[in-house]
Amino acid sequence: MTLTARDRVLRGQSRWGTAALGTVTWLVAALFFFPVFWMVLNSFKTEAVANASPVLFFEPTLERWEAVTEVTRGLLGFSEAFTNSFVIVIVSTLLVLVLAIPAAYALSINPIKNWRDVLFFFISTKFLPIVAAILPLWIIARDLGILNSQLVLIILYTAMNLPLAVWMLNSFFGEVPRELIEAAQMDGTGLFGQIKDVMLPIVAPGVAATALLCFIFAWNEFFLAVQLNPVDSSTVPVWVTSNVSTRGNFLAKLSAASTLAVLPVVIAGWIAQKRMIRGLSMGAIK
């Protein structure tokens, strides 16, 4: 990731030009981050301060943070929403890995004949607009009695992330050197041993990147949650929108709720950003 002095010369980057452009980059980065900064700032204001002309300096208070996390019986509260989200997102991500790892194995390491067609079938399902399926899904879920349950979202988030996971894992698995597997086979290592000792150490970072992206997409999903599970077993995005009120001021409270809602994904993304660069380019092009 770091560029050496030689790289700099080759890219025609002089020291002073670099310093000037570095400053420009900092300004642009601050601009991009500003809405997030302002959201966090507003969460420490009172409604009276937040709902006036915007100010940068004020007396910070945790009042709205307390308001947003307090429990109201019978409504989707902060702790229920977070528990539901974590359960749904973690279970669906694990399910995705359980289904996608063997599938990617059958597409790349020990490939079936028309693996390319199967791979494209998986990715083509991502082009089908989910809104076109929502009515049948709603009717099927109602008839199965799983409307307004965690289960319906676990199933749908697994389906939503599976194509992406198969696609990414396929390219990560493609990087396991064939000679290593063949050598292990010659030594009489069984399939399980091949997976555990040869493949897993090489593909572990790829599996982690895949799991992280599944986590992000499932955590942020709103449409399916609000259509199929909008009440008391719902998730964080639905809870955030419940903080918008048509009566009275809500800006500071909404900012506090929003800050809480984005925290898990933002922190995970910050930690794993280098992995994500690889993951997002999906290794399709090396």
């Binding site: 990731m1 770091t2 030689r6 790289d7 700099r8 010369v9 080759l10 890219r11 980057q13 670099t18 310093a19 570095g22 980059t25 900092w26 980065a29 991009f32 981050f33 500003f34 809405p35 959201m39 507003n42 937040a50 915007p54 289904l99 996608a100 059958a106 079936i112 390319r116 079938f121 990715i123 083509s124 399902t125 082009f127 089908l128 607009p129 076109a132 009515l135 049948p136 749908l156 389906a159 599976l162 709103f222 449409f223 609000v226 964080v236 955030v240 909404l254 900012s255 809602a261 984005v262 910050w270 950003q273 994500m276 660069i277 690889r278 997002l280 380019s281 399709a284 092009i285 090396k286």
Partner: protein, 315 residues
Amino acid sequence: MTANAEPIGSPDPAAERAAAIAAFQRRDKWRRRLPLLPALLFTVLVTQVPFIFNIGFSLFDWKIVPPTDPTFVGVDNFVEGYANPFFLNAVVVSILMTTSAVLISLLVGTGLALLLDRQFFGRGIARTLLITPFLIMPVVAGLIWKNNMFSSTFGVLNALLEGVGLDTVPFVERWPMWSIVVVLVWQWSPFMMLIILAGLQGQPNDILEAARVDRATGPSIFRQITLPMLRPYMELGVVLGAIYLLQVFDQIEVMTGGGPGSTNVPYFVYQRSIGGGWDFGQASAYAIIVVIASIIIATFALRVLSSLFQRDEAV
């Protein structure tokens, strides 16, 4: 089979071997397919079966409000659907919203990637700040832009306008679609940046070195070496961005609720069905029209992806 038909005592070794190989290949084929089947079955069941239901629904006149029993009407729903001016309007919004958001994000993202592709003080932190918008939950992005940035009473943008002595502008009310595009660009430029950055950092030094030796200038190196090398990454970014941006729902729902000129096709279909219209027959017909359009777009997009693949294998 052929091996069994041979009379005992005069075995035909060649036929026996062929049969054994065929049996082995059959078994091997299934052994290879087996790990794939759970994922494949799950995907077919959850993503394809609903569409089969849709085809059935679309042939009936079936409204919930007011409640009517489904009656078979053939292709009437499709014929009516095409003529609906609101649907045509949604198609235009979808095309405008997706192409503008994808292309602007690509431009901004490429610019950001080029800025980041150099060593400067605090580069890691600047990159961290820049990728944050992509990590923000879409409903939160829509809500904080609408209320904290665009709002004419307590929004930052209008405070700045007032600060320089201009009149305040109710951004979301005046330009509903373009306000949404701003939020989409804010979220997707970092995504494009990440992909382009992966491309920039894969630039082989020897080619750049050769260009330097040949006394090529900065701009011509960029045009003739860097840009062609980035092309596959840009294509990948456009295809992935288009997949997600064609389906934008969350930002529309929280910012305008489909208000004037900001209803794209997915939002329109949703409004016709469980989003208030409760006209299941008509909504299903629209869903099928959308799916057919998606298949056409997907065929094109998959061709791009597939060409990326071939290039990869050729290397």
